[in-house]
């Protein structure tokens, strides 16, 4: 039966791995060591990076805000939320007018009650010939 690893075993394991890794770093080839030295000297010769000017630092934020404002201006109209199109809405208005039953009839003589007018004229004239409608 295999015993559970103890803290002591772990420490020993860690020590062994550390020794191996340090050994591998010490035994790097001459070519690699030379390249690393050159790289270090190049790094030390590099000029220090300057912090960007204040205006340049705020440039991305300013550009983002300007873009958002431009989008707002283009896509959100001032005043009304939705634009009305008189051409497309005209059809609905005409239909409403034609189907309205309370308005004055538009179909001329067909709806005129002639009997009523003849009776009214007879009553008003008392025996005389009834005047022709429209005369």
């Amino acid at each position: 039966m295999k015993a559970e690893p103890t803290d002591e075993d772990s420490s020993e394991f860690e020590r062994r791995t550390r020794v191996l890794l340090l050994q591998s770093a010490d035994e790097l080839s001459g070519a690699v060591r030379s390249r690393l030295t050159q790289a270090r000297h190049a790094a030390l010769s590099a000029p220090p990076a300057r912090a960007p000017a204040l205006a340049l630092r705020w440039l991305p934020a300013g550009a983002a805000i300007a873009a958002m404002l431009a989008l707002l201006v283009v896509y959100v109209p001032l005043g009304k939320g939705t634009m009305e199109n008189p051409v497309t809405n005209a059809g609905f208005d005409d239909i409403e007018m034609l189907t309205d039953t309370d308005s004055v009839p538009l179909n001329g003589d067909q709806e005129v009650d002639y009997d009523f007018y003849e009776w009214a004229a007879a009553e008003a004239g008392e025996g005389g010939p009834a005047p022709a409608v429209g005369s």
Binding site: L21, L36, L44, A49
Partner: protein, 206 residues
């Protein structure tokens, strides 16, 4: 050392007369940075090499990290250099890994890709060394190869925690600063890394 000396001369030459104390402090700071980089360059290279499994890429990554530390953070207190250097190094390693991953995905779609182009191993490097080696050296080489492969197979955060704590010898706080995580996370990653390596390597002897 010539470049280092020339930089020092250039910087000092710009100083007005009567600023000898500034000249001395600049020279001291540059020497301190040089000593620091010399102390971390080999370990940094091994960490990059284990992660990337490629010598030239590892050298590039270490050079980039040294450049960035020197040019951007050289004026910071020396105590901050080590965590900063390893943070930069890990970022560069991740950049190379991502680039490789993207390139691999793109190349897999190309019908005319040439798999033999870059992945082919250098036959001289791969040649077996026929010279007799002492048994102890052979055992150490085999152990190192096994350890390197096991570390490379760890998840990224565990690998970072293990190498920074065990190899570089950073304490928990410095490791947390390098990895940009909490100290509790460092302990967890490190513990899991040790467990994984122990289970993989078994009776590991040097």
């Amino acid at each position: 050392m010539a470049a280092f000396a020339s930089l020092e001369c250039q910087t000092v030459a710009l100083l007005p007369p009567g600023k000898a104390h500034l000249r001395d402090s600049i020279q001291d700071a540059t020497r301190a940075l040089d000593a620091f980089l010399a102390s971390v360059e080999r370990k940094g290279f091994r960490i990059a090499q284990i992660a990337l499994r490629h010598e030239a890429d590892a050298l590039d990554v270490v050079q980039d990290a040294m450049m960035q530390l020197s040019s951007r953070y050289g004026s910071r207190p020396a105590a901050e250099w080590k965590p900063l250097f390893y943070r930069i190094l890990e970022n560069r390693i991740r950049d190379v890994q991502r680039r490789r991953s993207v390139r691999g995905r793109v190349m897999s779609y190309l019908p005319w890709r040439n798999d033999d182009d870059e992945d082919i191993a250098d036959p001289i490097e791969q040649a077996v060394d026929l010279a007799p080696q002492p048994p102890a050296q052979l055992e150490a080489d085999e152990a190192m190869t096994a350890l390197e492969q096991a570390i490379a197979a760890l998840p990224e955060r565990q690998r970072q925690a293990f190498l920074l704590r065990n190899f570089e010898g950073l304490d928990v706080a410095e490791t947390a600063a390098s990895m940009k995580c909490s100290q509790g996370s460092v302990k967890t990653h490190y513990f899991r890394a040790v467990q994984a390596l122990r289970s993989k390597l078994g009776d590991f002897r040097t």
